[in-house]
Subunit: 172 residues, 2 copies
């Protein structure tokens, strides 16, 4: 059974709506996707590092559309590992695990990794929204469209914009 690494933020977690909301609350400025296209999260939202290091931030975030149902199906055909680059911010770790347990209860604790480096994990397929993770991965790479990566048209990764597209690529 092939092993898939599935990212959390921007892939299972629909994180941008909260970034837009907090940015407007704190600055009064209402941004949209066009305003921040091509900028990394911390460039688009100057307070982003403060938000993600706040206890509780990750617990209330919405699930990415269709991701729960799709991951449940993928879980029958692959060894799914949910992996998040999360060891920079101590309080997000507990919040992220509670969020996974609440929203993806079919993912066992043995299938979860919080790592400071994704490229030390053995796997066949990576689904991620960040080039910093995908570019160094030796297996098959699937880029999930998010505002920060939307302007890069040519890469060696297969771009998808929905979990339905991931299912088409990976399910029989």
């Amino acid at each position: 059974m092939k092993r898939i690494l599935v990212d959390m933020d921007g892939v299972l977690v629909d994180i941008y709506p909260m970034f837009f909301k907090l940015h407007e609350q704190e600055t009064g400025q209402r941004l949209n996707i066009k305003d921040i296209a091509g900028q990394l999260e911390e460039e688009a939202f100057p307070n982003q590092r403060k938000w993600v290091s706040t206890p509780g931030f990750f617990q209330s975030l919405p699930v990415m559309q269709d991701s729960r149902e799709s991951l449940m199906r993928l879980n029958n055909f692959y060894k799914v590992i949910v992996v998040s680059l999360a060891t920079e911010f101590p309080y997000c770790l507990t919040d992220k695990l509670l969020w996974l347990n609440d929203n993806f209860p079919f993912i066992s604790w043995q299938q979860i990794v919080f790592s400071g480096d994704k490229n030390i994990i053995k796997a066949d397929i990576m689904i991620d929204d960040h080039f910093k993770n995908l570019d160094h991965f030796k297996g098959r790479t699937i880029l999930f469209t998010q505002p920060h990566n939307i302007l890069i048209r040519n890469s060696s990764h297969t771009r998808v914009s929905s979990w339905a597209e991931i299912e088409k690529l990976l399910l029989p």
Copy 2:
């Protein structure tokens, strides 16, 4: 540079003194190492799973003797990754990262992994006190003596009982 996986509990964290103390507080029974030799932690201490799932438990544990200085030296010759099988208990994750940041500040967040499965991590050497982790590892394996593993005399792993012994094995 070779990559070493270094376990936390029972290798960097001297966890048994707290188990003995809590067991005595809760049962009135004073145990020593001989009483529990060969028993896994959860067999020796019936309340162990309750303790390790309690917020704050991991924050006050002592550092294993000499481990800080030895790991600092190893960090010059190897790519050190501290890895803990910690995704079963949500509250221990934040506590363990805060503990590492306090006690091993020279270990960067990129060198930390909390995983539900250690055998998906690519590495050359593993230092651990549990056979469940060492037995499936493809590289060089170093078994750190702890009460639960002390009765098993014949294994394919190199047994050590101190960080001084680890330095002798791994430093030039």
